[in-house]
Every structure is written in C-alpha cells, then in structure tokens.
C-alpha cells in the first residue's frame, strides 16, 4: 500500500512539473478563458467599475487578445497583481499574459526571461507633491519622505536620482497604489513617485486634485507594455500582433465605426490583410481570418482605446504626447501587416 501512495504522489508531482512549458494558445483555448494579470486597481489603466467589471487601458489589451483568440472579449479572468507578485504569477503560469503598467527593462527581458511584445504606453517617472509644500522642482526634495511601490523600477530610479543629485530622502515602501494613496493623503510621506501616467490616474481620484502638483522632472524612461513568458514564441506573436493591430488600425484610419464598411469595400491592401479579407495572416498565427477585426471590435483602434480610458476627455486627462503615431510626431510605429 505504501508503495502505491508514493508512486501516486510522484506521478502527480511529475505531471505538474511539465505543465508550465509551451502551448499557451492550446491551454487558453482548452480553458475557454484567458488569464490576464492586471494591477490591483489603477483607474484608467485597470480597475473594476461600479458594477465590478474590469475597465481600463490595460484591461482592453487583455480583452482584445481574448477576442482574437477565443472570439469573446468577456472570456477573461482578471488576476490582480502587485508590483511584487506580477512576475511570479507570470513565470509560474498562473497568468497567460501580464498587462500591468510594466516597464520593459533589460534584466526583466533577459534575466527574468520574459518577452515584452511591444510598448503600449511610453512613460517616465514623475513626482507628485501637495501644493502647500511650495516645492517646484524635484531637486528641492532634499530630506523628504517618499512613498514608493515596492518591486518596481520606480524604487531603483528613485535611489539613482537622489544619489546622482547628492540629496537624501527616506523611502516608505508600499505594496499597492491604493495604500500609497492613503499614506500620501494622510501626510505619512511628502512625495508620491511612480510613472507619470499613474500619478495622473491617482490624482484624478483625489477629492481635491487641484491641491496637488506633478513636478516637471521626468527622471526615467518607462516603456510600458504587455509581456509573456520566454519560450512560447507562438503565443508571444499573438499578443504582439494584437497590439500591433490596434496601432496599425489607427494609422490606417480603421475605427470601430467604419470597420464593417471597410471590411466590405476597402481597396487598401494592408487594411484588407488586417481585417482578414485578403491573405492568410490569421492562419499564420494559428487563428482564423477575423482575429484582428474581433480585437478591434472590443473598443476600437489604439486612439479610441486611449481616448476612452485615459485621454484628455477623461478625468485622467493624459495628452497623446510620445504616444502619438509616428506620423504625428509620436513614437507609435507598428511593423507592417504583410
């Protein structure tokens, strides 16, 4: 009897050992759901709304992939992750992709073995202070107490910034944006620092956003983008080209409003390839011809997603800036669909 128990335990352990490897696409299809890692709550990027439904810029990225792969934008299991838990969640296979304001860095790509499929928001680290402190530059922050989210690039940039400017500070490490906001508002720290987009999103939820300023200095480059595990290139391709489809659609003028019409009558070959009326791009990805059209149907092209969630018409009020198309002087530049 003893023997069979041990053998049983060994088989179970042996089965789970191999599970994390390739085949994410098949796993997702078999499961009928995409497990997508997002923030614990950052309004505009990823946060549950009043009805408990996840909404936001990063959330739409997850939904677009689910729509492309499963044909259902709601077939997503959102997994809230903190700055600390996100990489373990992805590496262990708990989530299929991560879309959580995550900066593409050398060590995350090469050493932690993740594949960043592109950049969906070009950002940089900023500082927010209460207006009453009368601070006008980050260089005036000598001796300040600074709230930071731990496990982030923010933490490391902050140390570098203060050291290179020869000024001192006291870090207050915090797990989530919500806690950081509480501590900052209670005055437990003088400054809150994170990605400038995150600061804008956080400030938008304050009772009196006007009492707080974001200092002019941007102290780092934070290219934020979705990522998957190393080693499953087919899956990486799907997420990468879903992002590219949103960007290309904006460049080519395909919107959620005119998509059906374009699909029927376009004579631009690249639009036809994107929407699947020409060529076999979908098939090459292991999907059907309509994959990109479905991804675009979720919330429209990149510009529409941006404006709806974080754009100037929303309380967050971010300008396109670096995130404009290359044709408009921005950095968005998708490789061609051919």
């Amino acid at each position: 009897m003893k023997k069979s128990v041990i053998l049983g335990a060994l088989t179970v352990a042996g089965l789970s050992a191999g599970a994390a490897a390739a085949g994410t696409l098949d796993d997702v299809k078999a499961r009928g759901k995409l497990n997508c890692g997002v923030t614990t709550g950052l309004v505009g990027f990823a946060a549950p709304d009043a009805n408990g439904e996840w909404k936001g810029f990063d959330v739409t990225m997850c939904r677009a992939v689910a729509a492309a792969v499963l044909g259902d934008a709601t077939a997503v299991e959102f997994v809230p992750t903190t700055g600390k838990t996100r990489f373990t969640a992805l590496a262990s296979g708990e989530i299929d992709m991560l879309a959580r304001n995550t900066t593409w860095t050398f060590s995350r790509d090469v050493d932690l073995k993740f594949e960043f499929v592109g950049v969906n928001y070009y950002d940089g680290q900023g500082f927010m202070v209460p207006k009453e402190l009368g601070v006008s530059s980050a260089k005036d922050l000598d001796g300040a107490t600074v709230c930071i989210q731990t496990g982030t690039t923010t933490e490391l940039n902050l140390a570098d910034f203060f050291r290179s400017n020869n000024i001192s500070y006291e870090p207050v490490p915090i797990e989530t944006n919500a806690e950081a906001q509480q501590q900052y508002l209670a005055g437990a720290c003088d400054v809150y620092t994170t990605d400038a987009s995150g600061l804008a999103a956080t400030r938008a939820t304050f009772e009196n956003p006007g009492d707080h300023t974001v200092l002019p200095e941007i102290v780092s480059k934070e290219p934020l983008g979705p990522l998957v595990r190393h080693g499953d290139n087919e899956w990486g391709d799907i997420v990468r080209w879903t992002l590219n489809a949103l960007v290309t659609a904006e460049e080519l003028g395909v919107t959620s409003a005119n998509m059906a019409e374009m699909k029927a009558s376009t004579n631009n070959p690249e639009i036809a390839r994107l929407l699947g009326t020409e060529g076999t791009l979908g098939e090459m990805l292991g999907l059907d011809a309509d994959w990109a059209a479905r991804a675009l149907a979720v919330e429209g092209n990149y510009a529409e997603v941006f404006e709806k969630n974080i754009g100037e018409a929303t309380p967050i009020g971010l300008a396109r800036g670096l995130n404009a198309q290359w044709t408009d002087g921005g950095l968005l530049y998708s490789p061609p669909f051919r």
Partner: protein, 410 residues
C-alpha cells in the same frame, strides 16, 4: 501480548526485522528515512530540471551585486550602492531589533496582566480578562495594521510643527510625536575615543558589564560576612557606586552630548527616530503576545499549590513578598517552557513587518531583493535558514535558562 516473555534466542533471521519488536522500530525508521531522502532527492531533481528548462540556474553570486534600493531604517552603514548581502544584514538586524524589543515588552505586559488577573479586586481581574480575550482573539496582522493606521491618521504630520501657525509643538522641546514616528534626543560624544560610533558604545557596554560583576562580587562578599557574623553589611551605596561611577566618569571623559531633534526642511532631523512602522509592529506584537504570556503566567501561578501561599502567610510574609519570594520562583518552572514558544512566535510573527513597510529580513531579502533579482528560490532558502537558526538559538538559550531554574533534586 499481555505477557512479556524473554526475547527468543537463536540466530538472526531476515523476517525478524518485521516480526521482532527489538528490530521492528528500527526497520520502520529506516524505511521512513529512505522515503524522506527519496522525496527530497526527487524535489531537488524536479527543481533543477525545471529551472534548466526555463534557462535559469541556482546561484548566490547575486548577493554580491549592488542592491540599488534604499532602506529607511538602518542599524549599520548602508546605501543603494551596497550589496544585496548588506541589505539582508540590515534586514536581519531590524528583525532582531523588533523581536528583542517585543519579547521584553510582551513579557512585562504578560506578567503584569497574568498576576493582576488573579487579583481579588473584581474590576482589576475582569479588566485583565478582557485584555487577554480581546487581544489574543484578533489576528496580530490586524493589530499591526490598526495601530499603524491610527498612528498615521491621528498623529500630526511634521508640517503641523512648522511656522507661526503651528498646530503641534514638541514635548518639553525634546520629543516630537509625528505620524512618521517619534523623535527623541540622541546621545553623542564630543570627545570620542574611537572614530567609529559603535566602538564607543561597545566601550560603554563593556564598562557596564564590569560593573555588573563588581556588584555581584559585593553581594557575595556581603553574604559571606552575613554567614560568618549574622549581620549583613549595608551595601546599597556601594552597589550604586559600582554601577554609576565608572560609567559617569567614562561618559564625562568622552564628552556626552545630546542631539535634540529639530524640524529641518521636510522632516525632523537629529536625535533618534523611532519610525512609525517599528512602533506599530513592536506595540502590536507586544500586546498580542503579552495576552498569551498572561495566560501562561496565570496557569503557572495557579499550578503552585495553595498550601504554599498559606504556609508563607503563616510565617508572616506580606502578600507582595509571598508572590515574589514563594509563588513566582516556583511558577517560573511552569511558565518558562511555553514562554519559549511565545518568543519564537514573536520572532516569526515579526515577518508581518511587510504590512507596514518595516524593513525586516522578509522585506529586504525576501521582498525587494527577491523581486528585483528574480532569485526566488535562493532568497526563500536563505530566509528559511535565517528563521530556523534564529528560532533554534532562542530555544537553546531558553532551554539553558529553564535547566538552571528547574527543580534541583538533592
């Protein structure tokens, strides 16, 4: 099997490994050990093949790389250029600091509450029962967060101390209570013997240790005289002198100064800062564990037979002296063993530090270092090693103490 017969004589047979009670337990232990070893070997193989499959490898060289992050409470020199190993050391010292502080205060709370719970005064004993039940029945994590939240939201910010319209002021111009922590005057030396601050304090401690032995020697001498003549010489002024004079002389020679905290820029500077996270963690661990210790103390006291108290009373001892001289010394034998496990609990529970951003070993090595380097397995192994070592050391130390107060049968 009711009648024990002599073990069968005769040559050893293989089947005796199972049928003979002399060998059976050995056989079973050997099998268990083998199974355990196999499981461990399997786990190890599983980890290494999986890591290899993901192109990762186990190694501890990352500990020598610069950490790149700052820590807010440092008992030793540390900057963001220091190594991860150094960051781990900072974390270890912070863990030990809060553990030692909490063990001391929890013991004080526990002994007071445990003794008072047996008080004849109805109100006092009910109050203590209330304390014990409230605090030990709510998880310590909740206590840590409650205390920290109250501190950050109720206490004034350093800003409130500034300007003419300041809404808060320092206590006696020496202490500042803010929502970031408590600032108290810190001692320093204007004429130090050593360049390193730590060495000067080590010298002070060495002198105090010398005084301790001096005081003990006086005690022994007095006892000897008492045994010879029946009169105990008055020693209190000698003991006081032995304790105070050498330190006072040393401190004067080194030029003791007090650094008083003052509001400069965003924060108070100077003096010693006892950070909010440390206070929350320390206090929460103390009151929580104190409630358990109170129950141990009560059990210990009640384990001493009532006859002891009555006999001591019949000899004319006052209630306070009965407690101190008769009951507590005997109760200690019952109290110490569970006290050891409470101390272990404090040390392990201190890893909840992470909830309030206290930079203990779990937050530095097991938190930021793990996260920034991605070396999860290595960091967790080191963490386990640390807590295991710390716990075993505390156990060993307390067991020695327990042996020394144990009933010695003569």
């Amino acid at each position: 099997m009711a009648i024990l017969s002599d073990p069968p004589e005769g040559p050893f047979r293989l089947s005796m490994l199972l049928s003979d009670t002399r060998y059976r337990s050995l056989t079973l232990q050997a099998i268990t050990a083998l199974v355990l070893a196999l499981c461990l070997a399997y786990l190890y193989r599983n980890i290494s093949t999986n890591l290899q499959a993901q192109g990762l490898s186990l190694g501890f060289s990352f500990l020598q790389d610069p950490s790149g992050y700052d820590i807010n409470q440092r008992l030793v020199e540390y900057t963001s250029q220091s190594t991860h190993a150094r960051a781990a050391l900072v974390g270890i010292l912070n863990t030990l600091l809060v553990a030692v502080l909490a063990c001391i205060t929890a013991t004080i709370f526990g002994v007071i509450a445990g003794v008072l719970r047996l008080s004849n005064n109805w109100l006092v004993s009910k109050l203590m029962a209330f304390y014990v039940e409230i605090f030990r029945n709510i998880p310590v994590l909740i206590w840590i967060i409650i205390i920290f939240t109250i501190m950050t939201n109720v206490m004034p910010t350093p800003r409130a101390f500034r300007g003419d319209a300041a809404t808060s002021s320092m206590l006696f111009d020496l202490f500042a209570f803010t929502n970031r922590g408590v600032y108290i005057p810190g001692p320093g030396f204007s004429n130090p013997f050593f360049a390193s601050v730590g060495m000067n304090w080590l010298l002070v401690i060495a002198v105090l240790v010398g005084s301790f032995f001096g005081a003990r020697a006086i005690g022994t001498w007095a006892t000897k005289i008492q045994e010879a003549t029946g009169d105990r010489p008055t020693t209190w002024y000698m003991i006081l002198g032995v304790w105070l004079l050498p330190v006072a002389i040393l401190l004067t020679v080194m030029g003791l100064t007090w650094d008083i905290p003052a509001l400069k820029g965003f924060n108070f500077t100077g003096g010693i800062k006892i950070g909010g996270p440390l206070i929350a963690l320390w206090f929460a661990l103390s009151i929580y564990t104190g409630a358990f210790i109170a129950e141990n103390v009560r059990a210990g006291i009640q384990a001493v037979s009532k006859g002891q108290t009555e006999a001591a009373g019949a000899l004319g001892l006052r209630p306070g002296r009965i407690m101190n001289l008769v009951v507590l010394p005997q109760a200690l034998r019952v109290i110490i063993p569970p006290l050891i496990s409470q101390y272990l609990n404090i040390t392990k529970n201190s890893s909840l530090a992470i909830a309030v951003g206290y930079a203990d070993i779990t937050a530095t090595l097991g938190g930021i270092t793990l996260n920034q380097t991605g070396r999860a397995i290595e960091c967790v192994l080191l963490l386990m090693l640390f807590y295991l070592t710390a716990s075993l050391l505390i156990s060993a130390f307390m067991n020695v103490y327990n042996a020394s107060i144990k009933l010695k049968e003569r």
